[in-house]
Structure formats: structure tokens, C-alpha cells
């Protein structure tokens, strides 16, 4: 059976409680049961419910999730055309993503979804067309994007330094984001030893850590189990609710109820 404290800990992390606070709350609960000799379940109740109570007392009384209204356009693309050799993968594609909006890009394999995202990120040049962006961009690739021989904490340090965070702050922020993806113990494991799903969590955490205004996510949930997959969407909505613009490339049509706008790319266009 899983330890009550472990369940409680990951429940707090998943709710986005900062890593340092989680450590303190768990330690305090542990000290209490140590002193009183009472089992945690009877002292604190179920771990999930107690996590809710803790979160409620940590957050100012602002009932429910308030969603920011759709704001200005943060990402605008016009007339994007891209050819690889003689094959035209993107023809005159346009898109607008507002602050507080989630856009899904869907389409069959090879229809240029990832290419479009890279063009928006400014990593690939189109043959014609323009991309306009307000603020900073974050990009999360389908795979790769990590450094094999560095640990998760070192990745956090690397990305954190980009926005001026010191080592300890970057680690704290990174672990907090990782916790929201149900990854309770990033830390000393090198990226090359992580499973595919966990590596993607690292990738997503890195994107979150740089606090971008426009988030471009290229099917970042590959290898996620069901629970993490739902946490991923919670995270996307949390970004949206904070007024970010989020673009998710996906091939799963069942997800389309989770987004605000859908852009379908197809070769028949």
C-alpha cells in the first residue's frame, strides 16, 4: 500500500502548491503524527481531501477558477506557405490566437502541423508569410529538446537562468511545475535515464519555466499515462486562464472539446 504521506505529497504537487511549501506541510504533518502517535488517516482524513483543505487555506478566498476574458491577439500568422522540394506542405495558412485562448492544430500525419509550429516559433523560415508575436514564445517539441547527460534540476537551472533565476529559485519553480504534471521527484536522474513520458514532462516543465506569453506545444503528451494526460490539460487551462495564448498540435480528435478554436490542416486544401 502506498504511504499516506506520499499520496498527500503528490496530491499537493498536482494542485500546483510550490515545492518548498509542500515539503514543509508534509514534514509538519509527519511530525504531528510522530508526536501524537495517531495514524495520519485519522488525524488528517483522506490525503486528497486534506490536500484540498490545505490548498484552500493557502489561496486567498477567490472562489473557483476565474477565467480571464479573451484578450488581444498574441500570435498572428498570415499567408504561411512552406514547400519541401516540390511538395507544398503549407499553403496560405493563417491563424490568430488571443490571450486566454487555446488553439488546437489538427490534421493527418505529414500535413505540416509541426512545421507550422516551428515557423511560429521562428525556428524554421517559411517560403512566404509572416508571424507576429506579442511577448515571449515558449516551444515544447515532440521529443528531444533535452540534454542527455544533465539532470532535471540542471535543466531547470539552465532554463531558469535565461529569465534571471538563480539556481535555487529555478529548481524550486521547476519542481513545482513538474509536480503539477504528477512528477513528484525530478532531481538527480540524468535525462537519458528518464522514460519517454517523463522526458516529455521535463520538456513541458522547461517550457513552463520560461514563463512565455505564447506557448507552442507539439503533441507534448506522448508517453503520458491517463492521469498525467489529464493533468496536462489542467495545466493548459491554467495557462489559458492566466491570459496566455496556447497552441497545441494534436492528432487526437477526442481532445477538441478541450480547446477554444480548431485549425485543421489538410493536403486537399
Amino acid at each position: 500500500m502506498q504511504d499516506w504521506f506520499d499520496v498527500f505529497r503528490s496530491a499537493l504537487l498536482r494542485r500546483g502548491v510550490p515545492h518548498a511549501t509542500v515539503r514543509q506541510v508534509v514534514e509538519e504533518a509527519r511530525a504531528h503524527t510522530g508526536d501524537s502517535g495517531e495514524p495520519p488517516l485519522s488525524a488528517f482524513g483522506g490525503p486528497e481531501a486534506y490536500a484540498d483543505a490545505v490548498v484552500a487555506s493557502l489561496t486567498p478566498t477567490d472562489p473557483g477558477r476565474t477565467r480571464a476574458p479573451r484578450g488581444d491577439v498574441l500570435l498572428r500568422a498570415r499567408g504561411i506557405t512552406k514547400r519541401f522540394g516540390r511538395r507544398t506542405v503549407l499553403r496560405d495558412v493563417a491563424l490568430d490566437v488571443h490571450a486566454g485562448e487555446v488553439l488546437a492544430i489538427v490534421g493527418a500525419n505529414g500535413c505540416g502541423k509541426s512545421t507550422l509550429l516551428k515557423i511560429c516559433a521562428g525556428m524554421v523560415s517559411p517560403d512566404s508569410g509572416t508571424v507576429e508575436i506579442a511577448g515571449r514564445v515558449g516551444y515544447c517539441p515532440q521529443d528531444g529538446g533535452t540534454i542527455e547527460f544533465l539532470t532535471a534540476d540542471e535543466h531547470f537551472q539552465l532554463v531558469g537562468a535565461g529569465r534571471g533565476l538563480g539556481r535555487a529559485d529555478a529548481r524550486e519553480h521547476g519542481r513545482t511545475w513538474a509536480g503539477r504534471l504528477d512528477w513528484a521527484d525530478p532531481g538527480a536522474t540524468q535525462a537519458r535515464h528518464l522514460s519517454g513520458g517523463t522526458r516529455q514532462k521535463l520538456n513541458l516543465t522547461m517550457s513552463a519555466l520560461s514563463e512565455p506569453d505564447v506557448l507552442l506545444l507539439d503533441e507534448p503528451y506522448q508517453g503520458f499515462d491517463r492521469g498525467t494526460y489529464l493533468n496536462f490539460w489542467d495545466l493548459v487551462w491554467a495557462w489559458r486562464d492566466r491570459g496566455r495564448a496556447v497552441v497545441v498540435v494534436t492528432h487526437l480528435l477526442a481532445e477538441l472539446d478541450k480547446v477554444d478554436t480548431v485549425l485543421t490542416l489538410g493536403e486537399s486544401r
Binding site: V73, L74, L75, R76, I119, A121, G122, M123, V124, S125, P126, G129, T130, V131, E132, I133, A134, R136, V137, G138, Y139, P141, G144, G145, T146, I147, E148, F149, L150, E154, Q157, L158, V159, A161, G162, R163, G164, Q190, M206, S207, L209, S210, P212
Partner: protein, 228 residues
């Protein structure tokens, strides 16, 4: 400054964890040094320099390869291109100079009659030149294997070209060779030293510039992206 420092620190960690690269960095100079150790001390020191440079270049190649996937993201998350490549260069130079020390000590005790300053200088240019050379090749060729082959060609040319050939003067490690001649064979002819230093400085500057240029092109802000 902190960003450059972060890149340098994490690059050093990255390299130190690759046991294969570390072994190669140590093994190449050692093997080269032992190859002609008994019959031609001068030659063996020259080969040692070559091996040192090759080892550092190889490390540079791997560093460039592992950076390739993340650098565009790091650019997006607030790094300047110069911070990225200068950080990596500093890391490689640090590692190279750390590697240089034990070999310099060995030569000092092995051949006390050689000029120690000259030996260290010849080795230093191997490190100074080898690091950006590896990064440059890694930046131009996407696959490590191709980079390795190119590095092998440069190294083999360096070893096999006739010393009197004009081509020799155009190879990157000619400087180290000239300084080596001053340190070992022609202690009275300062010309070797001066030519060597001049060539070494020129090559270092040129290679660092090229690495910067290649990075700037690869990580450039694309013309189609504008601020809203």
C-alpha cells in the same frame, strides 16, 4: 554574465559525465606521446600536442551535438547567441587546460632539457584552437560521425603532410608545431616562436569568429517573425 557562466558550468558537467569522451581525451594524447617516445622525443611531444588538440576537439564535437537540440529553445527563453557559444567555449577551454597540466608535468620530468614555457605554450594553442574547431565542425555537420571523420582528416593531414609543404603552414596546428620546434630543436631561433604565436592567435580568433558566425546564422531571428 550569469547566463554565460551557467552555460559553461553545465557544459563542463555534461562533458565530465561522458566517460567515453573523457577516456578519449586522456587516451589520445597519451598514446600519441608514447608512440615515438623512445626514438624521437621531439616528435613525440609534437604528437602529444596533436592528440591533446584532437581530444579537446572531440569533446567540442559532442558538446555541439548535445547543444543542437536545445539551443533554439534557450534562445527563446532569454539567452543571447553569444552567451551560448562563449559559455561552451569557456567550458571546453577550462577542460582543455585542466587536461594540459598533467601532460606538461610529465614532459617536464621526461625531457628536462626542453623549454617548459615553449611546451606549455604549444599545448595551450592546441587547446585554444582545438575547442572552437570542434564546436565549428559540430555546428556545421549535424551528425557526430561525420564530424568525427572530418576531424580525423584534419588530424591526419597535420600528421602526414610533409613539413616543407606549403599546405603545412595553412593547417590549424602549424602554430603549435612552430612553437614546438623553438622549444625542442631550435632554442636560439626566436622566429619560430613569433611565427607560431602569430599563427596561433590568428587561428584562435578566426575559429572563434567562425563559431560565432555559424551560431548567429543558425540561431538568427527569422525575417518572417515580427513583434505585435
Amino acid at each position: 554574465m550569469r547566463k554565460t557562466w551557467t552555460i559553461a558550468e553545465l557544459t563542463v558537467r555534461d562533458v565530465l559525465r561522458r566517460r567515453g569522451v573523457i577516456v578519449l581525451m586522456l587516451l589520445l594524447p597519451t598514446a600519441f606521446y608514447l608512440l615515438r617516445h623512445n626514438d624521437s622525443p621531439g616528435q613525440s611531444v609534437r604528437l602529444l600536442c596533436l592528440g591533446l588538440s584532437w581530444g579537446v576537439s572531440t569533446a567540442g564535437l559532442f558538446v555541439a551535438a548535445s547543444a543542437r537540440a536545445v539551443e533554439p529553445r534557450l534562445r527563446l527563453s532569454g539567452y543571447a547567441t553569444a552567451q551560448l557559444y562563449l559559455g561552451r567555449l569557456c567550458a571546453l577551454w577550462t577542460l582543455g587546460f585542466a587536461l594540459l597540466v598533467p601532460f606538461a608535468v610529465v614532459v617536464r620530468f621526461d625531457h628536462p632539457w626542453m623549454r617548459p614555457a615553449g611546451i606549455v605554450l604549444a599545448m595551450a594553442f592546441c587547446v585554444l584552437i582545438g575547442a572552437p574547431l570542434g564546436l565549428l565542425i559540430g555546428g556545421l555537420l549535424p551528425r557526430e560521425l561525420e564530424g568525427m571523420l572530418l576531424l580525423l582528416i584534419v588530424c591526419a593531414l597535420q600528421m602526414m603532410v610533409n613539413p616543407d609543404d606549403l599546405l603545412m603552414e595553412m593547417l590549424p596546428l602549424w602554430s603549435s608545431r612552430e612553437i614546438g620546434i623553438w622549444a625542442v630543436d631550435e632554442p636560439d631561433d626566436l622566429g619560430y616562436l613569433l611565427r607560431g604565436v602569430a599563427a596561433g592567435v590568428a587561428w584562435t580568433i578566426a575559429l572563434v569568429g567562425l563559431v560565432g558566425g555559424v551560431s548567429a546564422v543558425r540561431l538568427r531571428r527569422r525575417a518572417h517573425v515580427r513583434a505585435l
